[in-house]
């Protein structure tokens, strides 16, 4: 029982990332009718927002401390980060320690801007083009984005540790009288993802803006006829989807050190998630994201990998193929979406 | 026995009864029109005939064989050709190529891996396609990209493509919808000519009464998914129920 719960928990963090990316993909696809192959790159850019902030906060100046000597007897050079000099050592250290969560603050405007520029500068011109063209141009964009990141940050994964207070493990089983030890940050990630998903759904459900967007997803032409400028709203929607992917990326850094091709790795799986969930269905995307994340975690257990070696690497694809063959519209897909 | 026999067909979409107990018999070598107000179920009925929809109950027999459960291409191979409301042609291909494809379908069936001989070596197909183009008065447009044809010519091409297969039943779905008067009249003339020159049964769904009364020999009036009356055009014109159905729509 403990083991099962642990595997479910293990699946939740990856599932959260899948769900968040798939949610954005679905939003973009549902509203704009565009298949965005650069969505994984947005996730990656989010992660590198955290990396950048961490580097900026660690910018230091050197002073020579005459009172201390290094092992050669020379005066010791001490590096002091600027933030520590400005805010005092304690507050400065705290800021550096909390770089990843703080990166959320800078990531939101950056991602909104990236999303806005992407939609106005590129995607807009592809609404009327075939899906194949959309795939190809966003695929090209994804390559460009990841190569730019690679140019500035190199090809190796970069460690982005969580704050000390959220590092380490906690016994999450205590509440229900069981012994399940689990990394704190992953729990944070899951809660964060739940919050964002909840936020998006609430936004779509309870605001006029969200209502128009939902109506637009269902029937774009009619809403257009009502004289509502949906294009503008869809631009904003694209920005939001980009921000969601970016934030998912920011917080994912401590779980897996970011590298430039992490976006592509997640993108393929997120597409599979979207298809399994049902193209154009937001709840489907979230549900499938978590389900597949958990499934993958079960397939990664020693028992599973010794029975069928490597099953953890193919399980998602296998499930996707089976789902598509038995339920071509996916788990919660609507009729008429992408069916010519 | 008509060439097309529809018996007791029902079709529901969720709570909506689209077709309720439809019976229809189309006699061979006649022009049979199906008319009715918007939402009367005309298109649903047509889709049940060509394999796009499967009725919940009832039977659809073509020339003594059931069409139910067959794919559209199989039904076409049985001898039913369909013309769409907005012309469905191969827009990326030339007019000549458009005309050759149904000829291939007629000669080779639903699939043939004919990958090595060149199209140019298929003399019989070329001859056939050219003669239909002549019939359609489109021979001079044979090298044009079909997407650049006028609306009326697209319709003409589509009808020609269907005729090149020598179907026994030609189904027309509002063939003049959205057309200018001149194009409509041209299409009527073309259909009249087809009716006079060929042994062919035509079933036509139409909104435009001018078209219907210029062509049809029998008319079925559909309202709310059920046939109201079936009669000759002369009798339909004065029929009280028909007037009611149409007046009811406009009120």
């Amino acid at each position: 029982m403990d083991a099962i719960l642990l595997q479910i928990l293990n699946g939740l963090d990856k599932g959260s990332a899948y769900a968040l990316i798939a949610l954005g993909l679905t939003l973009i696809f549902g509203t704009l009718g565009v298949v965005n192959f650069a969505h994984g790159a947005l996730f990656m850019i989010g992660a590198f927002c955290a990396v950048t902030l961490q580097r900026v906060l660690n910018l230091s100046f050197e002073t020579i401390d005459e009172t201390q000597k290094d092992f050669l007897g020379n005066p010791l050079k001490v590096k002091t980060p600027y933030v520590e000099a400005w805010f005092g050592p304690e507050a400065g250290a705290w800021i550096i320690d909390w770089a990843v969560p703080l990166a959320l603050v800078i990531a939101i405007p950056i991602m909104l801007l990236v999303g806005y520029v992407m939609e106005r500068g590129l995607i807009k011109h592809f609404y009327k083009r075939p899906h194949a063209d959309q795939i190809l141009v966003t695929f090209g964009l994804a390559i460009v984005m990841q190569e730019i990141v690679k140019y500035f940050f190199g090809a190796n994964p970069i460690q982005t540790p969580p704050p000390d207070a959220l590092n380490g493990v906690a016994n999450v089983g205590m509440l229900i009288g069981m012994d399940i030890v689990y990394p704190v940050w992953r729990i944070v990630y899951f809660c964060f993802a739940t919050l964002i998903i909840g936020g998006i759904f609430a936004f779509l459900q309870f605001t006029t803006f969200g209502m128009v967007v939902r109506a637009g997803m269902a029937d774009r032409e009619t809403v257009g006829l009502l004289g509502i400028n949906i294009d503008r709203r869809f631009t904003i929607m694209f920005g939001i989807a980009a921000a969601v992917a970016g934030l998912a990326g920011v917080m994912y850094g401590p779980i897996n050190p970011p590298n430039y091709h992490m976006g592509m790795d997640f993108l393929v799986l997120s597409f599979v998630v979207v298809v399994v969930g049902g193209m154009g269905s937001l709840p489907g995307a979230v549900l499938a994201g978590f389900l597949l994340g958990i499934l993958e975690s079960f397939a990664s257990t020693t028992w599973a990998t010794t029975t069928i070696p490597g099953i953890n690497q193919i399980i998602i694809y296998l499930v996707a193929i089976i789902v598509l063959l038995t339920r071509p519209r996916g788990l919660m897909g609507r009729k008429g979406v992408m069916e010519e | 026995m008509g060439i097309l026999e529809v018996k007791g067909v029902n079709k529901r979409f969720g709570g909506l009864q689209a077709l309720g107990d439809v019976n229809l018999s189309v006699a061979e070598n006649t022009v049979h029109a199906i008319i009715g107000p918007n939402g009367a179920g005309k298109s649903t009925l047509l889709n049940c005939l060509v394999g796009k929809l499967i009725p919940d109950t009832g039977s659809v027999m073509f020339d003594g064989q059931s069409v139910l459960g067959r794919a559209p291409y199989e039904i076409n191979q049985m001898g039913i050709s369909r013309v769409f409301q907005t012309p469905e042609i191969f827009g990326d291909l030339t007019v000549m190529e458009n005309m050759m494809i149904p000829c291939f379908a007629k000669r080779d069936g639903a699939f043939e891996l004919n990958a090595m001989p060149s199209v140019g070596s298929q003399k019989d197909i070329i001859e056939r396609a050219e003669s239909v183009l002549e019939d359609m008065n489109m021979a001079d447009k044979r090298h044009m990209h079909s997407a650049s044809l006028s609306r009326g010519d697209k319709r003409r091409l589509e009808i020609g493509m269907c005729l090149s297969q020598e179907p026994r039943l030609l189904l027309l779905d509002e063939p003049t919808a959205g057309m200018a008067r001149a194009d409509t009249n041209n299409t009527i003339d073309l259909l009249k000519q087809i009716k006079d020159e060929r042994d062919i049964t035509i079933a036509i769904i139409e909104h435009d009464m001018h078209v219907v009364f210029s062509l049809a020999e029998r008319i079925t009036v559909l309202a709310q998914g059920t046939p109201l009356v079936e009669d000759t055009p002369e009798n339909i014109k004065g029929h009280p129920k028909v007037r009611e159905a149409y007046l009811g729509e406009s009120a």
Binding site: L136, G310, I321, L324, M338 | Y73, E88, M96, S118
Partner: protein, 401 residues
């Protein structure tokens, strides 16, 4: 002869002349000159030109004609490579059985994947093929390389070892892939003055096979079958209501293009008897899409051009480093020189992929018809200038019949 019309015959002739004379054409600069770095006439690169040419020509039969965008064709290439290496291991280093098996296995594999993927169209199809390819990659990389059942040798890659059976390997046969004794590596270098031209056996084997593959592609394009495939792209609804079953047509196109990919993979292994899983990764599938689009999807010559273009620039761009750049811009004043080098630096050397990505976007945005369309537009523009005032010429070529 060949059952082609005049235009296609001259196209085939041009391709034949270009490939056969490639060792000369690609080595225009003397070996010692500064420009020698732009030479591409060495065996390894020339082999890649034609092998990827075959891959792209095959991909174009699917994508260019039917419009079905597969993102998983690298899987068939990889399967072809593995099959070929297995033939080397089991039978002998003769490349004929290896290539035949590569084509057959890739064909069967694509039949399986195509049968499932083609149940859906549009974006679903692309994602399904992508999923299949990633699954094949994972299978090759880890699942099928466990001690109990080692089909792919995982990360190391599949290669021939001394203790492999090689039951047909003759005592005197070369210990490398060969064609009835002619080693694929044997190269004759012809030196004329300061120039050196390499004639490599492997390259010529690939070149001849590519010409055959290209010829078959022309036949397919001009056949009723090819016309049906274009009809599938144009209007599936009309196809269905014209009594044509689109499924077997698309499946046949899929399998044919899969066999081309397998052939390319088999040849790759024949040039270098090694097969690795990275060949199957989806970025590799993306590359062939790129070649086809860049050259001109749906045109005959486009994919060959695209493959050559990308492989040439990949090679040249990756070789340019800062020293080379400084050499080029030495004539500029110092500050300006450094500035120019700094600007260009991210796009060359290891930054080649950035250039590739940008190029890809530019082509899709501005030139959806690829290089072929670009050439046609240019030709039309030149003609238009020359005939100013005379009849206007159209940029479009006469549609094929």
């Amino acid at each position: 002869m060949f059952g082609l019309d005049k235009k296609d015959k001259s196209l085939l002739a041009i391709v034949a002349i270009l490939t056969l004379l490639a060792p000369f054409i690609l080595n225009p600069f003397p070996t010692d000159s500064a420009m020698a770095q732009f030479n591409a006439g060495y065996p390894d690169l020339m082999q890649r030109f034609v092998i990827f040419g075959i891959f792209a020509v095959g991909f174009n039969i699917l994508f260019g004609l039917t419009g079905y965008l597969s993102f998983g064709h690298a899987a068939f290439l990889g399967v072809g490579s593995y099959s070929a290496v297995w033939m080397f291991k089991l039978l002998s280093y003769n490349i004929i059985p290896a290539i035949i098996l590569a084509v057959i296995i890739a064909g069967l594999f694509s039949l399986l994947i195509g049968f499932v993927s083609l149940r859906r169209s549009g974006i679903y199809f692309s994602i399904l093929t992508l999923a299949f390819a990633q699954m094949s990659f994972a299978l090759a990389y880890s699942v099928l390389s466990n001690p109990k059942f080692n089909l792919t040798n995982g990360e190391t890659g599949l290669q021939v070892y001394n203790d492999d059976p090689q039951i047909l390997q003759g005592a005197n046969a070369p210990d490398l892939p060969h064609l009835f004794g002619l080693s694929m590596r044997s190269t004759y270098t012809m030196e004329i003055g300061p120039w050196a031209f390499d004639f490599n056996a492997g390259y010529y084997v690939c070149a001849v096979i590519m010409m055959v593959a290209f010829y078959l592609a022309i036949r397919i394009f001009r056949s009723p079958f090819g016309m049906m495939l274009r009809a599938v792209k144009s209007n599936q609804q009309r196809m269905n209501y014209t009594g044509l079953n689109t499924r077997p047509y698309t499946l046949a196109a899929f399998v044919i293009s899969g066999m081309y990919a397998g052939l390319a993979g088999g040849l790759m292994a024949a040039m270098d008897p090694l097969a690795g899983a990275e060949r199957m990764q989806w970025t590799a599938s993306g590359e062939v899409v790129l070649m086809t689009i860049l050259g001109g999807a749906g045109t005959l010559i486009g994919p060959v051009l695209g493959a050559g273009f990308i492989k040439y620039f990949e090679n040249i761009f990756s070789k340019i480093n800062d020293n080379v750049l400084h050499g080029w811009f030495a004539f500029l004043p110092d500050g300006l020189e450094d500035f120019v080098v700094t600007i260009i630096h991210p796009f060359v050397g290891k930054g080649w992929h950035l250039t590739l990505g940008l190029m890809f976007m530019m082509v899709v945005i501005f030139l959806p018809g690829g290089l072929v369309e670009g050439g046609q537009r240019l030709a039309a523009w030149v003609r238009g200038k020359r005939n100013k005032g005379k009849d206007k010429t159209t940029g479009k070529t006469e549609p094929a019949e």
